[in-house]
Symmetry: D3
Subunit: 241 residues, 6 copies
């Protein structure tokens, strides 16, 4: 679903930049003679990578920020000069969002609340009509001013900045999302059906890593930390007969 959301973030942002939607009225890739819009992507995981692919494909001027040197190297090698891969800190974030037409928040920390990278105070320094797309909205959002919206009414304007914060972005393309989800989950569903949940979780570390709660205990470290519960070892809970 992160792939779908990352790819959709760019087309949603491109449409929100249209004048009618309250945006700056810029074409994301410009045209020969007119420079393209600046797109800033916060986070270089699956969402950020897929967003970068689409933004580059539309010929935008793309900067991606992340804190992990290994991620920056991999992205830089993949995209070459078509994406600026920049180390993320307060200074570089501010430096880049103030000139951006589109900022995509793609900072997902599994199970934990997203960090607030762009505050209300930042908005006043941004270009009027710039667009924020908050893909992290399902985990609270990475912009201070984000609040969940729906596909029926996807955007709102605050401090002159257009916010797109649809909570279930893949829902807009159910045809694609259903197949993508099936491809990812069907093998697990078959294992659960064939072996029973306990054995299936024992056999497959990837499936087990997705276990949040078992026998009334929180087994996922990030969930436990976010909610203030102790974390229980999945292995122990699954070990019984």
């Amino acid at each position: 679903m992160s792939q779908v959301a990352g790819r959709m973030a760019v087309q949603a942002g491109a449409c929100a930049l249209e004048w009618e939607q309250g945006g700056r009225g810029v074409l994301i890739g410009g045209v020969p003679g007119v420079a393209p819009a600046r797109v800033v992507i916060l986070g270089g995981g699956t969402v950020g990578f897929n967003a970068a692919q689409m933004a580059v494909g539309l010929q935008a001027d793309v900067t991606l920020l992340d804190r992990d040197p290994a991620v920056l190297e991999r992205l830089s090698n993949h995209f070459g000069a078509s994406v600026r891969a920049v180390y993320s800190n307060r200074t570089t974030i501010e430096e880049h969002i103030y000139h951006a037409s589109l900022v995509i928040g793609a900072v997902l920390i599994p199970g934990a609340a997203a960090p607030r990278l762009v505050t209300r105070a930042h908005l006043a320094e941004m270009l009027p009509g710039a667009v924020l797309v908050d893909v992290s909205i399902d985990q609270g959002g990475c912009f201070e001013t984000s609040k969940p919206t729906t596909h029926a009414d996807p955007t709102f304007v605050k401090e002159g900045i257009v916010h797109y914060c649809v909570a279930n972005m893949p829902g807009a393309v159910p045809h694609t999302s259903t197949y993508a989800l099936n491809n990812a989950t069907l093998p697990h569903v078959l294992a659960l059906a064939d072996k029973g949940w306990r054995q299936a979780l024992r056999d497959d570390p990837h499936l087990r890593a997705g276990l949040n709660v078992c026998a009334g205990r929180v087994t996922h470290p990030a969930v436990a930390q976010a909610l203030g519960y102790p974390v229980a070892a999945a292995d122990d809970l699954l070990a019984g007969p």
Copy 2:
């Protein structure tokens, strides 16, 4: 403006494909494991070329049809395997639009009415929720069922097919369009201001080629033919003192 319209056609089409807009609910570029949407572009001029650039950039499965072998060769050399450049005739058009999620009509014959390439009867054979974007709408449209729409209400559904027929597409991105228009017209404006219209038109064959009416006579061959007027030679009308 053709560059702007061609590029916008793809993002408008991508958004119209969303379920909420009445579209098929497919993501134009698919995701790994799920094949991308088929995009068919009718016409390989400036509009079609720019649309193809953006559609390829979004990783769609793109076919472009045109009747001019030189255009097909140039496009094929430019895009390589990422665009199928196919000779356009009734058979190939039908073959391709029946499997397409997005059809972009980009057939512009300067000054003349656009040919009706997709008829009402074709719509019944197309995929439900497929999207037609008619960039030729300013010259009557190249789909039989097209009628002009506005940015405030850009689409309508007919026979299960979503139609996007905004008459002034570049108006959605006025920031970009204004600069693009200035770049293209400012040299002519300066020439008109500096030399007067008659001398400016005499000196510049490109400007003269854009003259439609002069001294009450139609000087543009395609306009004359479309409206049933005789065509007058611009050179003669400009020759006077």
Copy 3:
């Protein structure tokens, strides 16, 4: 050798598609104005990846099917829109091979018999003169109708479909294959010569992973399973003095 076989599969298929060889008489990459041939590659391992590289290079219309989401994502990121990376199941295989001019079977399960992905019944639905290249022939083939052939007489026609099933494909390009094999094996050969087989196998887990039989016992899990023998732990057999 998988690299050589994967790359050769495309040139062998391209030649087998020629009319004189019994093929459909299509040029794999088409020409401007004429759509390219559809190439379907079953399996995204080393063979499939190398075949995809060559097929894209010849500007074919390439679809690659695999069951592993991680493989699909890696291939999709590598090839972008020039290869459709599709999740493999009975439905998608049938959907794609019925329109294909060239199908390359590249499903290799180490030590095990290849699964029969294309049956005799499928052939009747395929395009007459389509070509099957079975790179899995060394492990029994992944097409039901495959039987091994030689470089001297590489193809046969069954049910109107051309089969290329040369058992030792790299043998066609011995100059390249010899160097490739030397590069891959020389370090192991030197280790075996310097240290003796037992110590060399103890020191290098990659070499040990290639051990099939030791002290009369089958040590490779896939071989053991395919032949119905119990599997013995290589570590134990090598531990002795």
Copy 4:
């Protein structure tokens, strides 16, 4: 047809390089660790351009020679570092063919005999088992040792060098060639049928440029020169009532 022939030249050459066909036994694109084969293309017109596209696509090490600086610049800009575009003269031809595994002769001078760029004496200096593909064979061939062959028996070996000199290369892929030919000729056929030959030739300078003989007189300058006839002006012969 030049597009088809240029593209086929590479796949024909790749197959002829196989050991079984008498070739050097090299894989045209090599594999990681083993350098690719050197491919030399003589002539940068439509045939040479299409051959270069395919050879680059197969990851060969490609050098293209031509005498026209404008052609070299265009090819160099198109292919970047993946094709060496080298000025063609006796020295550079010899320098390059002596290290080549595949030499493609693509020197077509419309209506005239092809120049003999590679002589019998050159063959002794070439790599044993190298392959010559003579696309110019229809105009006498650009290799001294060429003589026409057929798809049924496409190659012969002379001085240790494999010659592929099929006179009608596009005949191997009739499905593709027929469509390509239709696309190119149908508009002319319709014009001839609608207007009669005389008027059609008068109206269309491209069609007229293809006129070889009219009213018993040779009208094509190159044909006239090659055959020793005087050249007659097509315009005059067509002017009559």
Copy 5:
């Protein structure tokens, strides 16, 4: 020679940016995590195109300015998103050079003095240690503060800005330049030797276009205008017996 100069401009600029040379001490392409240097190229002719190719190749952040919409479109289509092709005027020039690490002046008006695009006053607004490479120095230079330098001492610093103004840039790579020059001029030299200068000039419009002075009269319009002489028609002067 413009090709050589354009390509050299980037490597000369990259080296002049080193700290030891007085430059800003930035690596032109940055590294993963550190944004690349901004390179601004003034002029999109042969020099500018070749400079852009190399700057993009080094993964710089490249903007190219030109006044001709057709040039901007061609460059934009060629480079896609890796070069911003921007319409050149006073505003856009200032906007871009003030953030640039490297500015390449590639404005060549054949036979005329180069326009002064960057003035002394501009230098104070530029980044300290930025580099100017003036490829137009042979025609007076397009930076106000340029004065010719030599390969032995190629740069000087003025107002904190490094100037590279070597008058004969191709002289640094005589091996390459000699071959390039031979390729371009040998056909003309042979024509002059074979036919005599008068006939050679009559026969070849390209050669004739290079004629500056004939029979004591200036025949090149731009030279005549720059020096204040009347321009004589080459055709008339060559017509004599």
Copy 6:
């Protein structure tokens, strides 16, 4: 820093190839009609990869040699036909350096002395004016004739071959290098400051892997081997209270 050094190696080599610097006077990427210079890169680690990116970007004719098949495969997949990835041994090194204009030594064995891949005897067989850039100079250099130089006087000529052996290459671009270094080290610096060195080393295996000496004992295996000391286990030395 390896990224900076690898990228700088190419621009340093390009400049050293200029005639004024004692080089062959070739432009690294050639121009249309004149073949590019051959660049040979010894070693496919971070330095070699970054050097290859830049050399390809300048359109050089690049060969990279390495002994690790996995490295060769990864590089070959990344660069496709634009870099020849060749298995490194005495024969292939000699084969390639004798025709090279630029050889970049990028063989870094962590903590150990670099192997001497190019000897004094090799120099006599190389092209006069060829350039060696020894990025391994900090570990003794991988060319027999290397000796450290400085940015103030970066090259010397020995046996007609230009040597660039600056010991601290990133020092030439301190602006870029400082940021790159900060990005890589700041997280470690913060951990050291927050937790104390002992705990920081205990918690982070990457940091611990960089520990060379602890409590008077050599803890890095390669350093110990190179200097003839016994190696101590870092884990034990850090375990104390």
